[in-house]
């Protein structure tokens, strides 16, 4: 990029100020004073707030025009998009939000009249489109390499920041249930987000490290959930025994699937795994005697704390958590406990993936992703290596599935549709293949935000799809894709 001449800020301000003055002259008489109609109204009503707002917007609009003229679209794009979105939301608040939230949103309307607000939104949107077009035209062709470099640098910076940021995030995660603003709803959302983080980390082993595009990851989630439910109900086994068993069963399913299909590459593998995900769901749906078909399985036992239950009163012969510790019963205790269970499981998944990357299998996975033929020429058994990736990914998916089953207490095939696989994959793709922190951020973005803004549910899939398309066009490696070497010579006494 060639350096551009600096903007003449005073001149711009002067021009914008003039525009504001003109606006003032136009509006002060027409808008500023209003003769209230109706009987008994006497005093003149003043609306100087609206006048000031109009002048302010004129000022800002003029600056935006000048910036566009000077071919500096970036800030115009951000500012006008933000304005348009906020005002549109404020205007639409009564339809979108709860009454309490609407109250707050309404204060953000610049004018009282919906028509005037609408007009400003349209204008801002026009500015935004113009700016976006300009930005696109100017950056598209010469800028791709530079932008990729900049994004790589950002990925690297995030990676480095993770050294400090990671433990801080972990700390927040650990004390989360005790933070004052965290209520039951938020905690529930946190449990959901952490579940998806764990699933994302599990799938990241398969997709990010080994480079195998698996579109049927939900199958292993389902196998884990059903294994857990059936084991717990039919054999009366406890949570902590069922969990690893379910993980192992899911891993077995991974190996059974992997064996025939791992010879396929790329797109073919993706299609077959997609099919496998559906097959599992259809089997669950139709094998009525075993899985309960569409009715699913209910009454799945809740997790216990060393045999102590989280209930108001103990089932016969048992003791409850609050009785044992002499606490007053609180239903939140159970959610807090569940939260810590999934947090622990997710952390195990994370430290496992971080460790395995530095082991021969992990390096072979990455090498396979880079070049399978070269791997073969070095004596690496590609099939077995891929199988281990598949099995380990499936195992973590299965464990997460068990957790899902025990948390819900009820499972049915409906919970394991393709869209789940798509969401998990989206988390991995958005976060950046192979980036652990990227998965966390993406899960918070994709699961947490929609859950908090539940009112916007209907737009969720749309946003999802849009985000995916943008990522694919813009940065196929994922937002925070940055690879740290698994071993460094300079750390081993090698002179740099």
């Amino acid at each position: 990029m060639t350096p551009r001449p600096a903007l003449d800020v005073p001149a711009i301000l002067k021009e914008a100020g003039l525009t504001a003055l003109v606006m003032l002259g136009l509006t002060v008489g027409l808008v500023g004073f209003r003769i209230p109609d109706g009987i008994g109204a006497s005093a003149l009503e003043t609306r100087f707030g609206a006048v000031a707002m109009a002048c302010g917007l004129a000022f800002a609009g003029r600056i935006a025009l000048i910036l566009l003229r000077e071919k500096r679209p970036r800030r115009v794009l951000f500012a006008s998009t933000a304005y348009a979105v906020v005002v549109a939301l404020a205007q639409a608040a009564p339809v979108l939000f709860s009454p309490a939230a609407t109250e707050r949103w309404i204060t953000l309307r610049p004018f009282d009249s919906a028509v005037v607000n609408g007009m400003t939104v349209v204008l801002a949107a026009a500015f935004a489109l113009r700016a976006a077009w300009m930005e696109w035209r100017h950056r598209r062709f010469p800028g791709i390499k530079e932008r990729d470099k900049a994004m790589d640098a950002m990925g690297a910076r995030v990676q480095r920041a993770t050294h400090f940021f990671g433990p801080a995030l972990l700390l927040v995660a650990v004390i989360l249930p005790f933070l004052p603003m965290v209520d039951r709803r938020l905690l529930d959302i946190a449990v959901l987000v952490v579940t998806y983080i764990m699933l994302g980390w599990g799938l990241n082993i398969v997709v990010g490290l080994a480079g195998l595009l698996d579109l049927g990851y939900v199958a292993f989630y389902a196998v884990g959930a059903y294994s857990f439910a059936l084991l717990a109900i039919n054999f009366d086994l406890g949570f902590w025994i069922c969990l690893p068993l379910a993980g192992m069963l899911a891993a077995t399913a991974g190996i059974l699937l992997g064996f025939p299909v791992l010879r396929l590459r790329g797109d073919y593998l993706a299609i077959v795994t997609l099919g496998f995900g559906e097959i599992i769901r259809i089997i669950l749906l139709n094998w009525y005697q075993f899985t309960g078909g569409p009715d699913g399985i209910s009454g799945i036992p809740k997790p216990t704390f060393f045999g102590l239950e989280f209930k108001r009163s103990a089932s016969d012969g048992g003791e409850t958590f609050h009785q044992f510790f002499d606490l007053t019963y609180s239903p939140v205790d159970k959610i807090v406990f569940i939260y810590y269970v999934i947090l622990g499981l997710a952390l195990i998944t994370n430290s496992f993936s971080l460790r395995i990357r530095k082991l021969p299998v992990g390096r072979a996975w990455e090498a396979l992703r880079e070049d399978e033929i070269a791997c073969r020429s070095l004596g690496i058994n590609a099939t077995n290596t891929k199988l281990t990736a598949f099995a380990i990914g499936a195992m973590f998916g299965g464990i997460a599935g068990s957790f899902f089953a025990t948390r819900q207490g009820f499972i049915s095939p409906e919970s394991f549709t393709f869209i789940e696989s798509a969401v998990i994959l989206a988390i991995v793709v958005l976060g950046g293949f192979g980036s652990q922190i990227g998965v966390v951020i993406a899960a918070i973005l994709l699961i947490g935000l929609p859950e908090i803004f539940r009112e916007l549910q209907d737009f969720r899939m749309l946003t999802f799809g849009g985000a995916m398309v943008l990522i694919m066009v813009w940065r196929p490696a994922g937002l925070l894709a940055h690879r740290t070497p698994s071993i460094r010579l300079s750390d081993r006494g090698g002179e740099p």
Binding site: S377, G379, N381, I487
Partner: protein
């Protein structure tokens, strides 16, 4: 490394009647030759002669239509390569190779490339990674050893300083040498190099020659070398096999091959093939290294 215990009667590699057909095209047609350890055997021939095909058969990427590929491993005995799976040829028979179009793990670092090459040993030491997961000392030691071996080769190819670079970011010549080093990290008995000097400048090419003779002399393994650059071929090979249209047309010392009329015809006979005109000078007057066998 020492000059004791040679096996003069059993060659390291014995290719017998190798034929490889692709539909109607015969890419290798009844090719037989021998390659000895501690010798560089060059395989030359015009474009499309079947040189890479021969390598692909040797290293298990193609299953030959017929023929016998016998490798006599100094410790593990006789291996029939045509019956082995691709990865086992590298792992059990000790045949390593490089590729005509470089195949490094581009986004992994130089050091990682060399460590991945030692996969099988590390795998065993780490109890198939499960013991390594628990941080067993045996694995830590094995990894240290692997890094030492990598460092040895890095020193040889002059990339120690850039060990933590992404392999894909290295200059072309360095990538070529890294691929040779990576193949050597599998500790092979036979190293197959597919045009290692392609695209190198004269200085890099000379470096490569030195590296290859070093490997031959100090590691006492056999090398098979596909090469178009005649200065490399004539400079360092001990034995030359010439292929043309899948058939072997000559086999002998550099000097003998150079003056072989069939070879000269193969290289000069096709007027259209301008690339090969300058690849091989027609006649030799004096050859300083020619008399070494």
């Amino acid at each position: 490394m020492t000059d004791a215990c040679t096996h003069p009667q059993t060659p390291l590699l014995h290719v017998e009647h190798l034929t490889m057909r692709f539909g109607g095209l015969v890419a290798a047609d009844d090719v037989s030759f021998k390659a000895q350890d501690r010798k560089i055997t060059a395989i030359i021939g015009p474009n499309g002669a079947g040189k890479t095909t021969l390598f692909n058969c040797l290293t298990g990427f193609y299953a030959p239509t017929s023929g016998r590929l016998e490798l006599n491993h100094p410790t593990r005995g006789e291996c029939l390569l045509e019956r082995m799976e691709g990865h086992r040829i590298a792992r059990d028979a000790g045949v390593a190779r490089t590729f005509q179009n470089i195949r490094l793990f581009a986004r992994m670092t130089v050091l990682e490339n060399l460590i991945v090459a030692q996969h099988n040993r590390l795998m065993r030491a780490s109890g198939f990674s499960f013991l390594g997961l628990l941080g067993f000392k045996r694995y830590v030691d094995a990894e240290t050893q692997a890094v030492e071996l990598a460092r040895y080769w890095l020193d040889r190819i002059g990339l120690t300083e850039r060990a933590d670079w992404e392999a894909g970011n290295l200059p072309y010549g360095d990538q070529r040498r890294l691929e040779v080093a990576r193949a050597m990290c599998t500790e092979p008995v036979l190293l197959c190099l597919d045009e290692p000097a392609a695209g190198l400048n004269p200085r890099e090419s000379a470096d490569l020659n030195r590296l290859l003779t070093f490997i031959r002399d100090e590691h006492s393994i056999g090398l098979l070398l596909i090469e178009h650059d005649m200065s490399v071929v004539m400079g360092i090979s001990d034995h030359i096999v010439v292929l043309d249209y899948g058939r072997k047309i000559a086999d002998g010392t550099p000097r003998a091959v150079r003056n072989d009329p069939a070879v000269i015809r193969a290289y000069l006979g096709d007027e259209n093939d301008e690339e090969n005109d300058n690849a091989m000078p027609p006649k030799v007057t004096a050859d300083p290294k020619g008399g070494d066998v």
